[in-house]
Amino acid sequence: MAVAATSTEIRTDPFLLEIIRNFLITTCKEMGIAMMRTSYSPMFNEALDFSCVVFDGKGEMVAQAPYVPAQIGSTVHVVPTAIAEVGAENLEPGDVIFTNDPYRSNCHLPEFVVVKPYFKDGRILAYTANIAHMTDVGGMVPAAFGDHQNIFQEGIRFPPVKIYERDEEIESVFKILISNVRTPKHSYGDMKAMIGSLYLAERRIDELVTRHGVETFEQCCDDVKLVSERLMRAEIAAWPDGEYEAEGLLEDDGVVPDRPWKIKATLVIRGDELIVDFTGSDSQCFGPANQTFGTTASAAYNAVLHMVSSDIPYNHGCYRPISVIAPPGSFMNVSYPGACVGGNSDTHPTTVDVLLEAFSQFSGRSSAADGGTCGCIGFGGQDPETGEPYAHLHLEGVGWGGRADADGNDVQFVKNGNCANTPVEVAEARYPFLNIEYQLEPGQVGHGKHRGGFGSRRVFRFLADGVHISSHTNRHRVKAWGLFGGGEGTNTILAFRRAGETEWVRAREAFGSASYGKFSNIVMNEGDEMLFVTPSGGGYGEPLERDPELVLIDWRDELLSAEQAREHYGVVIDEAAGSVDAAATEALRSERRGGAGL
């Protein structure tokens, strides 16, 4: 899929164009702030797992704010699909469209998409849209992530339908929705927050159009896309024509033990156009690790945007030179009724890393692989105080891969998201657990000239009986890979122990799940504990080329020992002096390289 061009000449005064472009981006940011302040769930007001976008009257994105890349990329496809299915001719002022259908280019069921047309003088000039991760969507586990085998186990699915008509809620749609989720009050409140953000954006766009006129607004929408398209084409044209392949593995699907699933990607560069071809990837899996078309297209855009200047305005024009090929029924484009909730959380970042590996064959902007999981762990049960069901989705940062000019980031949400972790205080105030440990996991990292980022270590202690735990996490077996001689990252550890026990036991051994990281409805009781260590990123470049002073800093920060510094980096640290022994380091590195020594 590539998106079509509409004009060839930029007509708007460049200063006005920049003013209007930034006004629209600010509008998207303001939508997000409204979401944050009015929503009910920590997923929105703490983790910020939502995205706000503006489309023009042609159904093409003209502005976005820097929220969640995976969601934003899919809106390029799911928003026009939703509009087309309902029919622009059937829309009236005050209408809102809603869908969460993953087969219609959405990412997965929990991504709720709402779209509102903005009318001026009787015709649609723009659409405001919000895509946000609803914590619970019904289905067989609280908070959506587990080892589902089909879409029906994942939750309730809505094809594009109107949820508002002429500014009035369509009560029947809301009734169907909130009677199928565990947290009806929160889900209703969160939906209202999403829709409220659309109204806010509509008011701002109306202010803009009233000030500058319909004609100027429409011309600006065309021109801002054209600017982005030209900049993107110039970037692609600078890359060497050819085909560049890479492959990677998603370690399992949660259903078939120890069976990895292949992602194969070919970058085809032809002048100023790029084809991202996933032909040769495995068939769709039996569990929920499949990607939808929207997720795969979004992963392709995500990787490309990592490789180009961040000065390019992100809108429809960016995507025009990029075509994606994702065979239906494959791991990259799940067919009905295949499950797919984890494709957006774990397969997406792995797909981006596969593409970055392909890019590394000709570009210095690439990076080693990251922790490859959103760390999605769902908690659910009945609130011991109120008796009401609750659902909470825990997200966790991972180590990112080292890159040409810097180490990987520590404990940062993977590339498909841009989410924050929910503060310990907020989670503990709402849900029956404590965090009794939370720290960087030292010593364990992909070594390199620029090392991978560190993961984290967290221990939960449960305060009530009957807490259901479900998980879709990755890198328990397949580690983040390094680039150009950098080392592999480290594995995820997710383990449990009953109250009074001292040994940690993983889900497969303790509960007979098919996977270490993908399972449903393990029951924890008061005093039981759960250990979650997130993976570190791969290293970039030879460890023996790492600046010894950087190794010293890591030693001072207690991220690695003097012994590890010597073993992995050939750096000798004088622990008493707190400094690098330069002569001993040079000698050791020379010996390691097989040189003549001093």
Partner: protein, 65 residues
């Protein structure tokens, strides 16, 4: 069912693989009526997929029934 066609009854674009729930462009390729979501996808099919994959460029899911 007259009011709703489930997604497994709907075609996918012959080039990119996206579900085409409404609209699309119908053209004859490799002896079959195929659906595409855009002119650009037809161009990619003709200039890249068919030369590279031959008959394997054809997906059953893209044939208009």
């Amino acid at each position: 069912m007259p009011v709703y066609r489930e997604v497994n009854e709907l075609p996918h674009c012959g080039s990119c693989g996206k579900l085409v729930s409404v609209g699309g462009i119908r053209v004859e390729r490799l002896g079959h009526p195929l659906l595409f979501c855009s002119e650009r996808c037809i161009e990619v099919f003709d200039s890249y997929k068919v030369p590279k994959y031959g008959e394997a460029a054809l997906w059953e899911e893209s044939i208009v029934r």
